[in-house]
């Protein structure tokens, strides 16, 4: 089951690799596929605990895999930016990019997810799991980042924000009732 999940999650990446040679705007295409994949997987990784509360259907054992897949897409997204967009140029990265709010907001989200990925294994997770609540901040920042990356936000940006608001809202509601 986990293998199937990983395979499905990797399909968009395989598609991106396959169409890369004929892509009209290849750097943009890679940024889009990895960015969209990261946000969608991040939202999906929040579903298991929502489902456990609302529909008594427990697939919490896939949460870690989903989270790590979301991180993998994020890592590819950041790599595409650093290697292809910034061409490993430190001036470009630090002076030209990190000053821009839309970029550093994304960078903060990446650091949070990196921390979570590194502390997602048994020993460390026991120690740091409380801090994994930071995923909500990472999600909010990532949604803002995707919204802000567009000249004009489109259907995708509004949809993921809506889904994010519902998932976070349900948590606030559950927390208040408890």
């Amino acid at each position: 089951m986990k293998i199937l999940l990983i395979f499905l999650a990797l399909l968009p990446l395989m598609w991106a690799g396959y169409t890369l040679p004929s892509a009209i705007d290849p750097i943009k295409m890679l940024s889009n596929v990895t960015g969209v994949g990261a946000i969608v997987l991040l939202l999906i990784s929040l579903l298991p605990s929502t489902c456990k509360r609302l529909c008594h259907f427990n697939f919490i054992k896939y949460r870690k895999t989903l989270g790590l897949l979301a991180f993998m897409y994020t890592l590819f997204h950041v790599s595409a930016f650093v290697i292809l967009d910034a061409e490993l140029d430190l001036t470009f990265l630090i002076e030209k990019s990190l000053k821009k709010p839309f970029i550093y907001i994304g960078a903060i989200a990446f650091v949070i997810l990196l921390f979570m990925a590194l502390t997602s294994f048994k020993k460390l997770f026991a120690k740091f799991s409380t801090y994994h609540k930071a995923v909500y901040l990472a999600l909010a920042l990532a949604l803002f980042h995707s919204f802000w990356a567009q000249k004009v936000a489109g259907v995708f940006e509004y949809s993921v924000v809506a889904v994010g608001v519902v998932l976070l809202g349900e948590r606030v509601w559950a927390w208040k009732r408890a």
């Binding site: 705007d25 290849p26 750097i27 470009f92 030209k96 990019s97 000249k151």
Partner: protein, 311 residues
């Protein structure tokens, strides 16, 4: 890369006609009149006669496939690819443009009539989008100053204002009211000296053929030293005016987009740098040139102006 001459290639319509002709499998029976009949039925598209460009800057053309399948045409969609399919039913002929404002005689003129009046030439220009991608396109059209000479603007005419056609039945985003992606109709403007600059071009075609709908058929503006959003598509009105027109993107977000929108690697967009660009079809970026490589020709238009303030 692409050293062949565009005219040496069999035009698409002729090629298809020939295939159709061969498919009939009746070569022996067909008289020459049948062929003439076929030729006569060829769409008008074929009839662009123009002076080819010598490509003085030795620019490497992007492919027609790239330039016709990656567009910004918010009247259809904010997506880069969706407008290609969405625009195919667009009716671009007959189409007349309105010329109004501070000119000798206000009038409406058919696109074909304008072509006949001013003749056609090819211009191979760099095209740089504010989003960070770029391409090289062989446009076909005439310089805007020829049109302005014909319209005879009076001394009150300080700016030229351009407006895209407003026809919600043709452009779905215009029918969305408050849910439209941008305010319609799309408006652009140039200072009179910019409009009269010999590089400023009105295009009716590219790659040897009429413009496809998604590229702004039947007639659009091309200002090669400015970001692509200045090069307004599917023109409806050209007006000579006294005040600086408020262009659509400036109206949409004045902190990010200005009236001038000159390509400038030294002035960043608030959200991203403009130092480099992604040439369509390439995995590696290239440096962006000041005024998109037309500094020699146009820098004098902006002498003494603070280009950070007038971005």
């Amino acid at each position: 890369m692409q050293n062949f001459n565009l005219e040496d290639i069999t035009p698409e319509e002729l090629f298809n006609a020939r295939r159709h002709f061969l498919k009939l499998g009746a070569g022996a029976l067909v008289s020459s009149s049948a062929l003439t009949h076929l030729m006569a039925e060829l769409p008008k598209q074929n009839a662009l006669h123009y002076t080819p460009s010598t490509n003085p800057d030795k620019l490497i053309l992007n492919t027609e496939e790239q330039a016709t399948n990656y567009v910004n045409f918010y009247e259809f969609s904010t997506d880069k690819v969706a407008p290609v399919k969405m625009s195919q039913k667009m009716k671009t002929s007959p189409w007349s443009l309105g010329f109004f404002g501070e000119i000798k005689t206000e009038q409406m003129v058919e696109v074909d009539e304008l072509i006949a009046k001013f003749g056609l030439e090819e211009r191979i220009y760099r095209f740089r989008c504010v989003e960070g991608w770029s391409m090289v396109v062989p446009w076909i059209g005439f310089p805007l100053y020829k049109l302005l000479d014909y319209l005879e603007p009076n001394s009150n005419a300080k700016y030229v204002k351009f407006t895209t056609r407003h026809e919600p039945a043709m452009f779905p985003d215009q029918a969305k009211g408050i849910f439209a992606s941008i305010k319609h109709p799309y408006v652009e403007g140039l200072r009179m000296d910019e409009a009269r600059h010999p590089l400023t071009f009105i295009a009716v075609g590219m790659y040897g053929k009429r413009l496809l709908p998604q590229n702004g058929a039947p007639m659009r503006l091309v200002v090669p030293w400015k970001y692509g959003f200045k090069s307004i598509k599917s023109l409806d009105l050209i007006e000579c005016v006294t005040e600086e027109p408020r262009n659509t993107w400036q109206d949409q977000n004045p902190d990010e987009y200005g009236f001038y929108a000159n390509v400038n690697p030294e002035v960043d967009h608030p959200r991203w740098t403009q130092a480099k660009e992604r040439v369509l079809g390439k995995l590696f970026k290239q440096p962006t040139l000041k005024f998109n490589g037309y500094e020699k020709e146009v820098a004098s238009l902006y002498a003494g102006m603070d280009l950070r303030k007038y971005f």
